[in-house]
């Protein structure tokens, strides 16, 4: 299992489009991809879960991947958040 903490920098936070971009980015990986925020764990492959987390701009989230391609999945997810989630 690998994980990394990243800061959400896009102005509007994890709203619907970033959430769907995130889910589309990580769904192809076999590994599970979770977002840990505020003490709760959300499945990053589910758009609804991601949106329900109410992650705002400036929030620090932990991305946790577990599975055979965990490193690639983590890198993809972290890169995405760091690049502003496509906003």
């Amino acid at each position: 299992m690998v994980s990394k903490t990243v800061k959400v920098t896009n102005e509007q936070g994890m709203h619907m489009r970033p959430a769907s971009v995130m889910s589309q980015t990580v769904t192809p990986f076999t590994s599970s991809v979770k977002v840990i925020f505020n003490g709760n764990t959300y499945d990053a492959k589910s758009v609804m879960m991601l949106m329900s987390a109410c992650i705002k701009c400036g929030a620090e989230i932990e991305i946790q991947c577990d599975g055979p391609d965990e490193n690639d999945a983590l890198k993809a997810a972290v890169d995405l958040v760091e690049s502003g989630l496509g906003d």
Partner: protein, 695 residues
């Protein structure tokens, strides 16, 4: 914030029939307009369409949440439409959409829109809730379903927040690193600081080289919410059975302690179930290489004090004899010439004899916990002493000749007895069966896994037998198995290696290839440092000295080439044995990154040992990282042995290091050979060995 603040009955339209996405958007915008949320419906529609163009807002499961943030919005609002027949809203899952919410957010409305979205999603994840909404017959019913669900969710959240605030978390930590000097305590400090920042009480036990400090009591463990292990080696695990255990490394605790505390707070930590071994589950680095390194380091860190303590005492013995004037004349008894020296050498030598058993014992301990310790010691002892420990059988006893035939037996040996007698007992034919530290490493791993296997085999036994296992089954069966494997497989193989090497050296010497012989002798001293290869070289050297003495006694002059060859061999051997500790000490100085703090602190000790021809000083380094260290010591010592033989340096004493340099022929070039060899070892270590933090 409540949904009802944004959604009113006028904003809800049920049972609408929609033909396409565009019509759906128009209907929703019309609702916003009727509630009075908009300044400019056309501009708002443009914003909505622009948003849809970037990707559909139909998130699947029959739900669409179009939204727009625009200056055309007067006040933030939410409207909803149900469309039981469904409409194609270009959903991500390709299914028709029957529940539509539209969020309108004014420009610069902070995070309102995100909060509404988040709250809506939390509720919409419940499918039965969505179905209820689609089936609602009046806008009033639609809203009350939402209200009810929202109240439920809010209560849930509140309960969650309360418990996390009210409950004071109690964490425990254990930190340990292989050497137990710095990282153990830095990790503990990191955890304590991070916990204090989060307002959590934590107690951290440090398992350092100074012993266990701040030990956790069983009462504390019982009360703890989570136990954080920041360990690079194994610690006593049985006590944590049934508790939430978070495994991490000291590096995690030093660099990211806050992250560990947060992980522990999340509570999503698996419960540890003790399975007998000391092996940790879910190690941050479970690669085979890392596991082996961990076990090795457990052995090496326990062995280090024995090497240093014993080695320095032996060096002192040489010093005492030198001061008393036996440096040049002591010969084979050098270090034993005076009572004080003899005392020091015996104490030191005995302690160093524990080195290999301790190494093997603690490797096994690391693998199999306490039951492994005794079995590992047993294996190490058999590796350190060879089959010499298996002395003769007294009643039937006889003696065995060079061809391996027994004579003087009171019983004829047949079948199994003959096999045991011929194979297990150290007879002249089987050579020297001491396997040294490499054999000790093998014995340690063997013992550890034998005990693990026994634990597995015994796991089916009734609980009432639990007390018998560690007190009877593991030690007796474990030591028996390890004893059989060591005495009948490993040690005889080592004997064969020894015999073969001796034959090769004799052949080289009789062929007069002195420089090559010097190269090989020097290199052999620095491969296993006390094992069969080293022993073969050293025994060859002392044998050569005896041969020289015999020739001289028969009247051959000391200057005869045959006699000189014997002395040259001994010189190459000693210089080869003096290279590894010095080369490593130099490397510790010049390439500090390659070594742990504990290793670096042995510089002075290693210089003293190098000067005293105590090659064992290099063993902790070689044992910790054999694949990278041995090639360096091997080449350096080989170069030194080669140069020494090339310069025709001679030595008539079998031991003593710089204390017997007075007896060395061509001493200046001898020292040059030693220094060049050590420099080679040092630079090779700098090139080959990995940085400590990359291991």
């Amino acid at each position: 914030m409540r949904i009802s603040e944004f959604l009113s009955t006028t904003g809800v339209k049920l049972g609408v029939t929609l033909t396409d996405q565009n019509q759906a958007i128009d209907e929703l915008i019309a609702l916003h307009q009727s509630v009075g949320n908009l300044n400019d419906p056309a501009a708002f529609k443009a914003a909505i369409l622009a948003r849809e163009a970037k990707g559909s807002t139909a998130i699947g499961m029959g739900i669409a949440v179009p939204h727009g943030k625009s200056s055309a919005v007067k006040k933030a609002g939410l409207v909803a439409i149900t469309c039981p027949a469904g409409v194609d809203y270009h959903s991500m899952d390709g299914m028709p959409t029957n529940l539509l919410f539209m969020i309108a957010a004014p420009e610069g409305a902070a995070d309102t829109h995100l909060e509404v979205l988040s709250k809506l999603m939390t509720m919409l994840m419940d499918q039965s809730f969505c179905q209820k909404l689609v089936k609602a017959s009046t806008p009033g019913e639609f809203l009350s379903i939402i209200d009810q669900k929202e109240a439920e969710k809010d209560a849930e959240n509140e309960a969650k927040n309360n418990t996390s605030q009210r409950k004071s978390f109690k964490f425990l930590g254990v930190t340990a690193c292989p050497t137990g000097i710095a990282h153990t305590y830095m990790a503990a400090e990191g955890l304590e600081k991070a916990a204090a920042e989060s307002g959590i009480s934590i107690k951290v036990e440090t398992d350092g080289s100074g012993g266990v400090k701040n030990a956790l009591t069983s009462a504390e463990i019982a009360e703890a919410d989570c136990i954080i292990l920041a360990c690079d080696r194994n610690v006593e695990m049985a006590r944590f059975d049934g508790k939430k255990v978070l495994n991490a490394s000291t590096a995690n605790a030093i660099h990211n302690p806050q992250e560990l505390i947060q992980k522990a707070l999340n509570g999503n930590i698996p419960v540890y179930h003790h399975t007998g071994g000391n092996t940790m589950k879910e190690d941050t680095n479970t690669s085979v290489g890392h596991t082996i390194y961990k076990h090795l380091m457990s052995g090496v860190s326990h062995m280090l004090p024995f090497v240093i303590g014993g080695g320095i005492l032996v060096a002192l013995a040489f010093l005492v004899d030198t001061i008393c004037g036996y440096g040049a004349t002591g010969g084979g008894n050098f270090g034993n010439c005076t009572p004080l020296a003899s005392f020091l050498k015996n104490v030191g030598g005995t302690i160093m004899g524990l080195m290999v058993p301790v190494l093997a014992g603690y490797i096994a301990y690391s693998i199999a916990d306490r039951p492994g310790l005794a079995v590992g010691f047993a294996g190490g002892l058999l590796a350190a002493n060879g089959n010499a420990l298996v002395t003769n059988f007294s009643v039937w006893g006889g003696s065995v000749d060079d061809s391996g035939a027994w004579s003087g037996l009171s019983q004829s040996l047949g079948g199994f007895s003959k096999f045991v007698a011929n194979f297990g007992f150290a007879n002249p034919n089987s050579g020297n069966t001491v396997s040294g530290f490499l054999g000790g490493i093998a014995a340690g791993f063997l013992a550890g896994y034998v005990v693990l296997l026994l634990q597995k085999l015994c796991s089916g036994m009734p609980k009432s037998m639990d007390g018998v296992k560690p007190m009877l089954i593991y030690p007796v069966v474990g030591i028996f198995i390890v004893g059989v494997i060591m005495c009948f497989i490993l040690n005889p193989l080592i004997g064969l290696v020894n015999t073969g090497l001796s034959a090769m050296l004799t052949a080289l010497s009789t062929a007069g290839m002195l420089a090559l012989m010097g190269l090989i002798l020097g290199a052999m001293m620095a491969i296993d440092m006390g094992g069969p290869i080293n022993k073969a070289a050293y025994v060859f050297g002392t044998g050569a000295l005896a041969q020289a003495a015999a020739m001289v006694a028969k009247g051959t002059p000391n200057s005869n080439p045959a006699v000189q060859a014997c002395y040259i061999a001994m010189a190459s051997i000693m210089v080869g044995g003096m290279v590894p500790p010095l080369g490593i000490a130099l490397a510790c100085k010049f390439f500090p990154k390659k070594f742990t703090e504990a290793e670096r602190s042995t510089v002075v000790t290693n210089v003293v040992m190098a000067c005293s021809f105590i090659t064992e000083g290099a063993i902790p380094f070689a044992a910790a990282d054999p694949l990278h260290v041995i090639p360096c010591t091997l080449v350096g010592a080989g170069v030194a042995g080669f140069l020494s033989a090339l310069f025709k340096c001679t030595l008539m004493a079998p031991h003593g290091g710089i204390f017997v340099f007075a007896t060395v022929g061509n001493p200046l070039m001898y020292i040059v050979s030693w220094l060049i060899g050590s420099a080679v070892t040092c630079f090779m270590l700098g090139m080959i060995k990995k940085d400590v933090d990359k291991m």
